[in-house]
Symmetry: C2
Subunit: 175 residues, 2 copies
DNA sequence: GAGGTATGATTGACGTGTCAATGAGGTGAG
DNA sequence: CTCACCTCATTGACACGTCAATCATACCTC
């Protein structure tokens, strides 16, 4: 049974209306597979520092924040997570002593999330090996030309996913 | 913390030995973020057909298999999953009536996994919308040149991750 | 300032993924 | 034959992610 792939079909006359070719679909599958593999490898590497990729993202965002703390919702926006996902994860990280949640001074509903000393140490120890791993299994594989092309492709995908920011310019107040 | 600009580079060569630049790291982060977003969008789309991305992968592999069934371990190898992950997932899919597991005729340890009628119907209904979604949020964003460049980049990454198959070529006549 | 609504964050339920351990059955050396 | 060892597949425990529901507080309107 064939449920995907391209079959004979009359073109609608517009490029956008064309079906995907098998080649395009194969590239899509390769993208999914390859990025999944990279995530798996880097996740395994990070685990040797006692962190998951999610832990690392949270700790990194906090360490880069002004004053090294963030409101829970700001943190969620920074790393583009759902609120509830963050809440669950912060609970687990708090239990492990990596972060701390305090009542927010300016809004009694809110929480201020900050690194603990332990969290900062663990993050610092994990950072260099992670950079090396990204370099080794990703950056070392590509030429300068390929980097440029990839940046261009990713920009095209982002423009396509978020057309409203396609023409955004610093200092341009209009939307 | 600027890490750009140190060391000469061999023309058109790789960047082995140099540190990653902030630009290269930014491209890595963009790759991770963008592919995560695509997966999220497509997962949400697939969910309208009552399937997860994992379900779809399993059903598709079975539908493409000779005789529409596979040994559990063959299925795991086909979609590159851990055995235990597959076992858990097949349990859930069996409960939902999408697949069936029968004792293997040639090896009493094994299981033969096959599509149920329901599973085949659900897959067929999900396939076209999924293709359209991949086209809409991925394929439609890229030019032919960008497709070529992306295929080249993914091949380079795969070659780097699996050097043992680095020299395999399609159309070689012999492998 | 009282009511209704919006927002910040958490919780519970459930599906999912990983690791280590297990059991059940094949396989080969002696 | 039988013992050691391997592979096939499953299980349990636990971490993780999503959805819908909840709760408390802020904000806005009258």
């Amino acid at each position: 049974m064939v449920v995907d792939g391209d079959g004979p079909r009359v073109a609608t006359g517009s490029v956008v209306g064309r079906r995907m070719t098998t080649g395009e679909l194969a590239i899509w599958r390769s993208l999914v597979d390859t990025t999944a593999e990279l995530r798996r490898i880097l996740g395994a590497q990070l685990q040797q520092s006692g962190l998951s990729a999610a832990d690392y993202q949270v700790l990194l965002a906090l360490s880069e924040a002004d004053g090294r703390w963030l409101r829970s919702s700001e943190l969620a926006a920074t790393i583009d997570w759902e609120r509830s996902r963050l809440s669950h994860h912060l609970g687990r990280m708090e239990r492990r002593g990596l972060i701390r949640r305090d009542d927010c001074a300016t809004d009694s509903r809110g929480a201020e999330v900050s690194l603990t000393g332990d969290g900062a140490v663990v993050l610092r120890r994990a950072a260099a090996p992670r950079m090396r791993a990204i370099k080794k299994c990703f950056a070392d594989a590509l030429t300068l030309e390929q980097f440029d092309a990839l940046a261009d492709i990713l920009q095209a995908l982002q423009n396509h996913l978020h057309p409203e920011v396609k023409f955004a310019r610093a200092g341009d107040g209009r939307s």
